[in-house]
């Protein structure tokens, strides 16, 4: 498959700091590309540069065959953006917001009515088409925003924390729809989220930290690279337990202590767990064995929980 977004050696520096330190990656046509990283990692700066909103210090960005630095308007016409903050005009009706968008993006006049109905149907807002946006709930506004982002049939849809502030039902509905879009229309999606369970739907994930990309791979591969299962336990005396676990694992340093929790990784938890229980002289108060999640991947790469990293 051809690359829809090609980023090469992209840099952005401000007076003192280097926000993005020469990153390169490709997003293939039709894939969902997850972009993860804590606040201040350079995610927003990168997205703003890709969306032509910010001038890179150096490096090149090509989207849908257009150079983001020189052919700005072609790039703008090729992409749709769903921002995390509200960018609707609340004083206008849903219909007016959508009509304006059609005009900004030169949607053919005779196709506008059909497309507006289509996107409103998708997000289930047909009933409130002629109501002012200020009367909408947060979830309805979000849905309208997504509908609007699809009106001009973008080749790439940027979703920047699209489900923040939505109830679980709406969130689920939204993802269902996003997957449907991908399947039926082949729209490429560029997604940032810090709900890691949501990032699982990505075909590939890039993890960004401190201005650089530290890993790009499929969620499965990233988790597989971590190696084995994860055991988390807490005991009546964690210091004692730590020493004993250390002794059991030998030189291996594959365990971390996070608050009250000892976390370790083993190839095969079934065999290991009985050894562990035997080896511990202190009482186990909590024990959890599971397959690695993206949060573990995140933790392994950045040394932080994405939850603490983003401050949520």
């Amino acid at each position: 498959m051809a690359a829809m977004i090609e980023v090469q050696d992209l840099k952005k520096s401000y007076k003192e700091t280097e926000a993005v330190k020469g990153i390169s990656f490709e997003v293939e046509e039709g894939e969902i590309f997850g972009f993860l990283g804590p606040n201040g990692a350079g995610k927003s700066t990168t997205i703003n540069m890709i969306c032509t909103m910010l001038k890179p210090t150096s490096g090149s960005i090509v989207i849908n065959g257009f150079n983001a630095n020189k052919e700005k308007n072609d790039v703008r016409a090729s992409i749709g953006l769903i921002f995390q903050e509200n960018t609707l005009d609340e004083k206008l009706t849903a219909n007016e917001n959508l009509k304006l968008h059609c005009r900004f993006y030169n949607v053919p006049k005779n196709d506008r009515e059909r497309r507006i109905q289509e996107v409103l149907h998708i997000v289930d807002l047909n009933d409130v088409r002629y109501k002012k946006v200020e009367t909408f709930s947060g979830g309805m506004q979000r849905r309208l925003e997504i509908a609007r982002g699809l009106l001009h049939y973008p080749r790439v849809l940027f979703l920047d924390e699209p489900t923040v502030g939505l109830d679980p039902q709406t969130r689920a509905h939204l993802w269902e729809y996003i997957l449907k879009l991908k399947k039926e229309q082949g729209i490429t999606m560029f997604l940032t989220t810090h709900y890691l369970d949501e990032a699982e739907i990505s075909d590939r994930i890039a993890i960004m930290d401190q201005g650089g990309i530290i890993a790009v791979d499929s969620p499965e591969e990233l988790k597989r690279q971590l190696g084995g299962d994860i055991i988390e336990l807490s005991t009546s005396d964690n210091a004692q337990a730590e020493a004993e676990v250390q002794a059991l694992l030998g030189e291996s340093d594959e365990f971390t202590i996070n608050d009250e929790l000892i976390r370790l990784q083993v190839e095969n938890s079934d065999a290991f767990i009985s050894e562990l229980i035997e080896a511990l002289s202190v009482t186990i108060t909590k024990l959890n064995i599971r397959k690695p999640t993206l949060n573990d991947v995140f933790l392994a790469f950045t040394g932080r929980d994405i939850g603490e990293a983003t401050g949520t």
């Binding site: 703008r76 992409i79 968008h101 993006y105």
Partner: protein
């Protein structure tokens, strides 16, 4: 083109939907007219009568000040309408506009036309008061002055755009604009003649676009030919800059040039913007 129209239409729709703003914009110019017209006409007229024994008593201050009040209304509304740019930034909508393929010139022109249209509508509303004030302007001259009012409003809203693009807060914008608007009104000849000013004030008068706007409006609306020369001079209907008499055409060209420069500057600021 479609982009300009869309941005323009949005601002107009929002203007007519905002009832408080609509009421305020009807009332404010009427207040100005009542206060300046009613309050100052006695003084100005007796001054004229004293200065010019023959013919001075025919002088009608309201007739002189009316085009000035219209110009002042245009100035206020045009400049303050640029506030919509700051609001759009605050409420996020500017992002929707900036990430779209609408050309940056279209954004500047659309915003400018929106503000200018609202200002011109207000100016035209003032014309409805002409019969009530007992004035009589030639109907043709009023028709002629309307397109010029739109041009002047474009120039002034361009000025507002420029300020709105560099000032981040609503309050800051209002402060700066107030400081700017007052001298622009008082040193334009809109309300009183600008003869015999100190040199530094002359300089302000010369660069003030409102001066030229008022000059054109007065010369088109007031029947200068049938007005005694002394009154024309006393009321400053003959504007001279660098010892050159400013013609109506010259003033119109100045305003047009001023507008073009502002469009270019505003376009540049939208190019740099990343809401």
């Amino acid at each position: 083109m479609e982009g300009i129209l869309a941005i323009w239409q949005r601002d107009i729709t929002k203007f007519f939907r905002d009832k408080a703003r609509l009421f305020g914009s009807f009332t404010m110019p009427i207040l100005f007219l009542l206060i300046f017209g009613g309050g100052m006409s006695g003084t100005m007229e007796s001054m004229m009568a004293g200065q010019l024994p023959e013919g001075g008593s025919d002088f009608n201050y309201i007739e002189f000040v009316f085009p000035g009040i219209v110009a002042m209304t245009l100035l206020m509304t045009s400049v303050f309408s640029a506030l919509s740019i700051i609001e759009d930034k605050d409420f996020g909508y500017m992002k929707e506009i900036l990430v779209s393929p609408v050309s940056r010139v279209s954004i500047a022109v659309g915003k400018m036309f929106g503000a200018a249209t609202i200002a011109t509508i207000q100016g035209i509303m003032l014309f409805a008061l002409i019969p009530l004030l007992g004035l009589s302007y030639d109907f043709m001259s009023i028709l002629q002055v309307i397109p010029f009012m739109f041009l002047l409003a474009c120039a002034l809203s361009g000025l507002g755009l420029l300020f709105a693009s560099v000032i981040r807060s609503t309050q800051g914008f209002q402060m700066i604009v107030n400081i700017l608007v007052l001298p622009m009104v008082f040193l334009s000849g809109a309300l009183f003649p600008i003869n015999n000013l100190p040199t530094w004030m002359e300089a302000v008068v010369t660069v003030n676009p409102v001066t030229y706007g008022v000059h054109v409006m007065k010369n088109v609306m007031v029947d200068v030919e049938n007005t005694p020369t002394q009154i024309v001079e006393a009321m400053g209907l003959n504007l001279t800059v660098f010892n050159q008499e400013v013609t109506v055409l010259g003033a119109v060209l100045f305003i047009a040039g001023f507008t073009l420069v502002l469009i270019l500057l505003a376009t540049q600021s939208f190019k740099r913007a990343n809401a």
